[in-house]
């Protein structure tokens, strides 16, 4: 429960704090102590990194991109072929006639209209259950079309930033919570769904299905802002949809778990992460337990799982995945492999 609260506070903007030594479990303390003695050189780390990326197939990224494109394409195909499989857009839809409603859009509409829309309740409940099970912000990285564009823009940003052509101005993460409150209040006070006017998710989803609009210029502006001025700014610091689904996913059974045993703390995972603060536990002396679940702000995109050279990060479905299902052999071989190379 305590960890869920911490996960919630981090979702809302709190910076993770370094745990005190007595907060670390004895087992963890022992492992960290052992690691202190086992010096890892830069060359060893690089060899480990290269070895991993030679074999890595970006498994999760492939699956995710495929899912994201498939879901969005299903809307388009369903409309163009008139097969009524998935009607509507991401804000609200029917899957084979069954209602679904985006939780954030539904919230904005109800705040603006000041009515609990009974018709929406089925759609809201369906989507709530779906994303509760699948992991809340999983929506962001596995469905939201803006996420994919932003991911590509991020690559351009990193390329430019490495050459000094782009900056990465950071903001306080708490600002997203401020936006959440602002847009809720605006909907309530003005009676308009103000956020929907600037939501790149809605704009893109509709543009894909119903044809391009001028509103795409706003999406283009956001992408340029992210490319030149601030890495992944919209998803990190603004989007209230992220908070809505983050809240849904706090107790979700699907999450990425971190096992600190073999971790080299080199930070490959944090480099690729959209929300690196959730991976704060991968920094040396930050994990309180040997195995720890990653917080609610995590979008379950799996980039860290793909990136981790030591298999310390893995997807877990609470109650279904057992520790034994992890590739034990690989785990125990990892350090030896590295020693052989050096």
């Amino acid at each position: 429960m305590n960890r869920s609260l911490e996960s919630l506070l981090q979702l809302l903007g709190r910076t993770p704090r370094k745990p005190k030594k007595d907060e670390l479990s004895p087992e963890v303390q022992k492992i960290y102590f052992y690691k202190k003695g086992e010096k890892v050189t830069k060359a060893q780390l690089e060899a480990l990194h290269d070895e991993h990326h030679k074999n890595s197939k970006n498994k999760w990224r492939k699956r995710r991109w495929l899912t994201l494109i498939a879901v969005n394409l299903l809307f388009v195909v369903s409309y163009y072929l008139d097969i009524q499989l998935l009607e509507g857009a991401l804000t609200a839809s029917r899957f084979m006639g069954f209602h679904m409603a985006d939780l954030n859009s539904a919230l904005q509409v109800m705040l603006a209209h000041k009515q609990v829309l009974i018709n929406l309740m089925i759609g809201i409940t369906t989507i709530f259950i779906l994303w509760f099970i699948l992991g809340g912000r999983t929506f962001c990285s596995w469905v939201c079309p803006y996420h994919l564009l932003a991911e590509w823009a991020e690559k351009v940003h990193l390329w430019l930033a490495a050459r000094g052509l782009a900056k990465n101005y950071t903001f306080h993460r708490g600002v997203r919570t401020v936006f959440y409150i602002i847009f809720a209040l605006l909907a309530l006070l003005t009676g308009y769904t103000v956020y929907e006017f600037i939501s790149p998710t809605g704009i893109l989803s509709r543009a894909l299905i119903y044809g391009p609009t001028l509103a795409l210029a706003w999406v283009a502006f956001l992408l340029l802002f992210e490319i030149f001025l601030s890495r992944r700014a919209w998803c990190r610091y603004v989007c209230p949809i992220g908070i809505t689904y983050g809240l849904v996913g706090i107790f979700s059974p699907v999450r990425v778990t971190y096992d600190m045993t073999d971790c080299k703390h080199e930070g490959d995972c944090r480099n690729v992460c959209l929300v690196p603060h959730v991976l704060d536990v991968t920094i040396k002396n930050r994990s309180t337990d040997v195995e720890i679940g990653i917080g609610a702000d995590c979008t379950r995109c799996g980039l860290c799982v793909d990136a981790c050279p030591t298999n310390s990060l893995n997807f877990e479905f609470k109650g279904l995945t057992h520790k034994s299902s992890k590739p034990e052999v690989e785990r125990s071989l990892m350090p030896e492999k590295k020693e052989e190379q050096s």
């Binding site: 859009s105 603006a112 990465n168 003005t190 308009y192 006017f197 700014a233 920094i283």
Partner: protein
Amino acid sequence: MTQATNTKAENTKPEQNKASKKPSKKKTINRGPGRRAQEARRQFLRSVALTVGVTSVSLAGFIPLKGHADTRLKMRPPGALTEKDFLASCIKCGQCVQVCPVNAIKLDDLDTGFGLGTPYIEAREQACDFSCDGLQCVLACPTGSLTHVLDYPKDTRMGIAKLDKPKICLAVAGKGFKGIARGPDYDGVLRYEDIDRWNPIPLKDHPYDVEICDLCVQACPIEQRYNQCQEGNYPSGDKNQCPPKRAIGLELIEEKNGVRHMKPVVYDGCVGCGVCEMICPTEQAAIVIDYNEVTKMPLSPEYLKKSEGHS
């Protein structure tokens, strides 16, 4: 590999991240507590700027609505709540667009502010001719922005037809009409019950030949239903489909100077569907829909009864 070097700043602890913007150059100097506080202050100011910036952009949605809080900028699909409630409750999903058999419904763009993504009908391009009978858009609407109380075309209140330019009206000029109503390049469709009950056909495939132009009256879906009911032939076999009053008719008008001519006259049964505006064969439509006004004809008892249950 490139990613690892590119994002060195991200790699370090968050506090250090703030403190050292260029870790490679001035690592030791940047780590001072003063520097850290300064960077925190800068980040705070940037965050305030971001908040003000994004909020301002979102509020730009008000601009096109200035002075139009309660009036419609465009015609809305059947069953639309009052404009204010409509904009509040529409979830902008376009399911109404997808089910319309004549593709009359389109989604608004940025220029209508908070109307972005909400459905509208451009009657001159393609009007709602109620060819679905059952009001599919209303049934599709997940939020009731198009009120689920509405079951029948007769209770729709999209606006009301007005003879906007009587001077160009062919009937007023005593002229007939022969040919394709809107020319061969026009893509709009209408349902002709005598040709195909289920499928609307292009207007260009249905030429007219009339002594006095009465296309607006002929094409009017309410008139058609009214006439069917008079013959005891209820639309979709449902007596409730019958409009209580006529919507439009050609009348012989005698002006003060004694000149007598025909003229389309709009009656209380008009629901503002816009088919008259769509089919009007003159260059500009002589008859148009005023979508900010509706008929004085009361709603049907069925509607009122259902509406009580809803509120």
